[in-house]
């Protein structure tokens, strides 16, 4: 089926309606005119024939009383003239036999009227119409019944011309009205269907995934309501889809994170089991040895020391692992508050001075007052770890330098040692769990490899950063730099 646009359909309908209305009106009016004209013509001619009859009778009575036929023959012509003059129409008078006895037009027109005349001769009024001429015949009454027929010739030209002019008028007016109506209707429909097309395009855009914004100007009718509804739906769909996408994105992130976590956990467990094996192997070894040589006092003493040491290491490892996993799980358990970093560092340095002295390392600090917002325990752990490392990986007679300063709203803590240092290529990896630069070295000094990974986790939790660099200076070494966002609160500097 051919697809016709609504604009064309409606315009056609409008045209058809207008044309039909004008056509029907024209037909009815013309019919009415015809009926009215015919009635008037009949009335007028009936009146004229009555007067003619009166005239004939009067003439008959006034004249010598002859018989009807003779009278008519004698007076016919005169009467025809008189009747014609009075009526203004051409008149013919016929006798009873249908022969003309008087004719106002002098010359006889060869009109084909015989059949109509027969009707009139039978006593009835009859008229015939052919073209624009009407011939009207009425019976004439004499002293005793019908004496003849009087005929009037009537031109319908005026009437027919009028009819034709009205018809023409209807045609031209009808055409003009139809044309104007079609034009006006089409223009209006154009606007109207334009609104519909706009809606269609709107829906098309939505299908494509384009979510347009509502137009400023909205119609005040049902189409306007429709338009507003479609915009509303578009907005709803868009926000829905946006929401779904956001959700999906979140889910993807979560999945990725979970996958990474799974991966890390697998690695972690792998590392743990490896690291746990080593001390356990040692402990089992000593256990076996003790079983075999229980009475060797040197072995017992050595076993005791080593087993304790390995157990201690295991314990520390378990603690650290627990703390690591606890950090990932139970973040909200940390209590945050303003922490005076310089005070904290001072306190930690005090605690470690003894240990440092045992190794012959001097602890120096230059602390400015600075505060961060965080968990005191956690910060304590962080600093303690790094300080501990600085002592552990130092040389005998070395130095540990701690500084604390506030820079650009951030608190910068630097812990430098004069140890062997970390090769540049290893610096990135030292924060990985269980990674040690030198595994043997770590075992000797009791490092589990978990420390820095933990420190980094904890630093991240505090919103800070940890970086490592080579300590410059004649003695070399490593410097760890921790930066945290500063907390500016009024506090007494007493």
């Amino acid at each position: 089926m051919m697809r016709i646009s609504i604009k064309v359909k409606l315009s056609l309908l409008l045209t058809v309606l207008i044309v039909a209305a004008v056509a029907i009106l024209a037909r009815l009016v013309l019919q009415g005119i015809d009926a009215s004209q015919r009635a008037e013509t009949e009335r007028e001619l009936a009146r004229q024939s009555e007067i003619a009859g009166l005239r004939v009778r009067q003439a008959y009575m006034l004249g010598d009383r002859k018989d009807d036929d003779e009278f008519l023959r004698l007076r016919g012509q005169g009467l025809a003239m008189e009747i014609s003059r009075q009526s203004g129409l051409p008149v013919v008078i016929y006798d009873r036999a249908g022969e003309p006895v008087g004719n106002s037009l002098q010359q006889l027109e060869a009109l084909d009227i015989r059949d109509t005349l027969d009707y009139a001769l039978s006593g009835r009024t009859a008229y015939q119409v052919s073209g624009a001429s009407l011939v009207y015949m009425a019976p004439l009454a004499g002293s005793a019944g019908q004496v003849g027929v009087v005929q009037f010739y009537y031109s319908l030209q005026t009437q027919q011309a009028f009819h034709a002019s009205i018809k023409r008028l209807f045609l031209t007016t009808g055409a003009a009205v139809a044309g104007a109506g079609l034009l006006i209707g089409y223009l209006y429909l154009h606007r109207f269907s334009g609104a519909i097309y706009r809606l269609r395009d709107l829906v098309g855009a939505i299908r494509r995934g384009d979510y347009p914004h509502a137009a400023a100007r909205v119609r005040g009718d049902e189409l306007g309501e429709l338009e507003a509804g479609i915009y509303y739906m578009s907005d709803a769909i868009r926000s829905n889809i946006d929401g779904l996408q956001a959700e999906r994105h979140k889910l993807t992130l979560a999945v990725t994170k979970l996958q990474a976590l799974e991966q890390r956990q697998k690695q972690f467990i792998g590392s743990i089991s490896h690291e746990f094996k080593t001390p356990l192997t040692s402990i089992r070894a000593y256990g076996d040895l003790l079983e075999m040589y229980a009475d060797d006092p040197e072995l017992v003493a050595e076993a005791q020391v080593n087993i304790s040491r390995e157990a201690q290491r295991l314990q520390e490892m378990v603690d650290k692992v627990l703390r690591l996993s606890a950090l990932e799980k139970y973040e909200f358990e940390s209590e945050a508050g303003p922490v005076a970093v310089d005070e904290l560092l001072g306190e930690l340095c005090g605690r470690l001075r003894g240990k440092a002295a045992r190794f012959g390392i001097s602890l120096e600090s230059r602390l400015e007052s600075a505060a961060v917002w965080g968990d005191r325990e956690l910060l304590s752990s962080i600093f303690m770890n790094v300080l501990d490392n600085a002592i552990k990986y130092n040389v005998r007679g070395g130095e540990v330098c701690v500084t604390c300063a506030q820079e650009d709203g951030r608190v910068r803590v630097a812990i430098a040692d004069t140890g062997l240092g970390i090769p540049a290529e290893e610096r990135a990896r030292i924060f990985e769990p269980f990674y040690t630069v030198s595994k043997d070295r770590a075992r000797r000094t009791g490092g589990s490899g978990l420390g820095l990974a933990l420190v980094r986790e904890m630093t991240d939790k505090q919103g800070g950063e940890i970086a490592v660099e080579a300590a410059c200076g004649a003695r070399g070494g490593t410097r760890f730099i921790l930066t945290f966002p500063g907390h500016s609160s009024e506090r007494s500097t007493d």
Binding site: E42, I51, Q58, Q86, Y119, Y127, Q128
Partner: protein
């Protein structure tokens, strides 16, 4: 798609209904074909009408018309005799308008025997005769040019009295009862005269007074086309004249004195014959034509006869109007040169009208006696 299917039948029925309505409207027009027969032929169309329009008022059908040459009929003495005037060639000629001619004298003419009987011998011009209701006295004028002196003739004795030395217009004067006539003089007086010749001035109307009639104590008269009415007090003094109507041509009181027939100018070239009450309030309009004249009431007051001439080549002739139904019937054609009022015979079965005829020698008259069925 299902909705579309449901709408289709509704649309179709709507269209069908509309078409039916239109057809019905169109067909309704052509129901006027009753009472006729239409015969279609290749070159023409014949319509035959049932002659239902023959219902004529039987009482207004003419039986015979008699034509009387050289006579001017005025009124009916009885069913067989009429009062006429005719130039008396046996009398001395008189000079009228610079021309010499025989004077008109009044006669009684017998319609059956054709006998003429002079009413009053004189040398004067006698004309414009009006019989009293009891037909015992005759009011006429002795003419001098266009106006005349009022005279009273006792038909029994044959004696005539000149009522006044004042002159009247030719058509002026009407019988108030069997013994009195009223008329307006050229000097604006309304005068009553009795059969004995006693004359009394009833009122001084002033101006040009004409068409005076009296009903009981009311006097009707025209002054410049305006119809007035004044009432006479018991002591005979004239009351205030009241204007009843403008543009009046003729006022004709009914025989029973209950209503008036008035011919009034209703347009540029239009006259209307109407019936009014005694105050001049219109009750019925009977006829309209270019000219209406010669109006008179039938003795029984049920009909009127009048001359109507229509300018548009229409009706021209004598008409009878039914005072009750208002129906008018033409009973004679032409006769537009009526000289005087058309008069009913005492029985109401015959009409008398005199027509002026132009001949080579001047004017003469023909009188028609129309006998109704």
């Amino acid at each position: 798609m299902k909705n579309q299917r449901n709408h289709q039948p509704t649309k179709r029925t709507a269209l069908a209904l509309m078409a039916a309505c239109l057809l019905a409207a169109g067909c309704g027009q052509s129901n006027a074909n009753e009472g006729r027969e239409v015969i279609e032929k290749p070159d023409k169309e014949i319509t035959v009408l049932e002659n239902g329009a023959q219902a004529q008022d039987s009482a207004a059908q003419v039986q015979t018309i008699d034509e009387l040459e050289a006579l001017r009929g005025f009124d009916w003495l009885n069913e067989e005799e009429i009062i006429v005037s005719q130039p008396n060639e046996e009398a001395e000629p008189i000079t009228v308008e610079g021309e010499a001619r025989y004077p008109n004298h009044l006669y009684a003419y017998n319609l059956t025997t054709d006998e003429l009987e002079p009413l009053q011998e004189s040398d004067e011009e006698q004309n414009f005769a009006l019989l009293s209701p009891d037909r015992k006295h005759l009011f006429y004028k002795v003419m001098e040019e266009a106006s005349g002196f009022p005279h009273m003739l006792d038909l029994e004795s044959g004696e005539s009295i000149r009522l006044m030395e004042d002159q009247l217009f030719a058509y002026e004067g009407d019988w108030a009862d069997n013994t009195h006539v009223v008329f307006g003089t050229v000097t604006g007086q309304i005068v009553s005269a009795d059969v004995e010749g006693n004359v009394e001035v009833l009122a001084e109307a002033g101006g040009v007074v004409s068409d005076v009639h009296r009903i009981d104590d009311r006097l009707y008269y025209q002054n410049g086309g305006v119809l007035y009415m004044l009432e006479l007090a018991d002591d005979g003094t004239a009351g205030e004249a009241r204007e009843l109507m403008e543009g009046v041509d003729w006022v004709v009181p009914s025989p029973d004195g209950q209503q008036l027939a008035i011919v009034r100018q209703s347009g540029e070239a239009e006259r209307t014959l109407m019936l009014t009450d005694l105050e001049g309030n219109e009750k019925t309009s009977l006829a309209t034509s270019t000219q209406i004249f010669g109006t008179s009431w039938a003795p029984d007051g049920t009909r009127l006869v009048y001359n109507a001439v229509s300018e548009s080549g229409g009706d021209k002739g004598v008409f009878i109007a039914d005072a009750v139904t208002g129906q008018t019937t033409q009973i004679a054609v032409d006769m537009e040169y009526a000289a005087d009022k058309i008069r009913w015979s005492p029985s109401g079965a015959r009409l008398l009208t005199a027509q002026s005829v132009e001949t080579d020698e001047g004017y003469t008259f023909k009188t028609y006696v129309i006998t109704l069925q």
